[in-house]
């Protein structure tokens, strides 16, 4: 699964996610994460999320939307909300991770498994890439 989240200079957020799915998945299964609310979400003033992981768990927990909810109703930071839900779903079989950006430009990229590829670019053009 690949994806991107962004904050633009006007303060707007967006998220995009694309996948081929899991190798040898059941035909017709939509279980990986490009489902609105589960693996993809964007809402100005809170956050934009793109996730990759064991999709059924992400769907059941509406992971991407849950982060936004915790920020709006719980007053949590992006970091606390994003890291919290990824930690909570891990023991339930929810291996994976996500990338997130909030309306102030904070970035969080938590994961609970291996095989994660990440990158971030800031306004000044500075790039970071990492593989775990």
């Amino acid at each position: 699964t690949v994806g991107a989240v962004a904050l633009d200079s006007a303060g707007h957020l967006a998220a995009a996610t694309s996948t081929g799915g899991m190798t040898a998945k059941a035909e017709g299964r939509v279980g990986d994460s490009p489902v609105i609310g589960a693996g993809t979400w964007a809402e100005d003033n809170t956050c934009a999320i793109s996730a990759t992981g064991h999709g059924e768990i992400f769907i059941r927990h509406a992971v991407a939307h849950e982060i936004s909810s915790r920020m709006r109703w719980g007053g949590q930071s992006l970091k606390k909300a994003a890291e919290g839900i990824i930690a909570e779903i891990a023991p339930l079989g929810g291996s994976g991770g996500l990338i997130a950006v909030d309306g102030e430009g904070n970035v969080s990229m938590p994961f609970n498994c291996s095989g994660m590829y990440r990158g971030v670019v800031r306004g000044d053009g500075s790039l970071e890439t990492a593989i775990f």
């Binding site: 904050l7 190798t23 998945k25 793109s50 064991h54 291996s114 971030v120």
Partner: protein, 174 residues
Amino acid sequence: MSPVLAIHGGAGVILRASMTADMEAAYHEGLRTALQAGHAVLSKGGKALDAVVAAVMALEDDPLFNAGRGAVFNAEGRLEMDAAIMDGSDRRAGAIAGLCGPRNPILAAKAVMEKSDHVFFAGPGAAAFCRSAGLVMEDESYFRTERRWKSLQDELERRRTGQADDNDEARKHG
């Protein structure tokens, strides 16, 4: 407001332990290319929506990553693609699933968002919508890579022979 863009790129069953230095360099280069594509939009005052599309398209075009051109095979040996997009400024959203054809699946999701009254198309209806929206469509051979085909055969062989799953979490998601 200083813009920022983040990306993730899945590589399917390529495990960290088996990655050579050359492969690692190629993955970093692929990630950088995607970041630069998104940054090119944002640095000109462009929209976050267009930036995430540009970044994801770069990843879809790279056969190292398992979306679009590097799409994985289902258990029946056929390629299926899913994609979703959302604009935080107005909660518009679009998604497609369970089809093979659009060269860039994220453009299909964006077309659903912008050119239909709906949010989610799946299967043959999604493919028909893509064609009607004028998206570039490709045969399955465009998306097939030998590495992905071998990954499928390895997994099917593991299932046929009853070998235990190694439980590597990197295998668990696309």
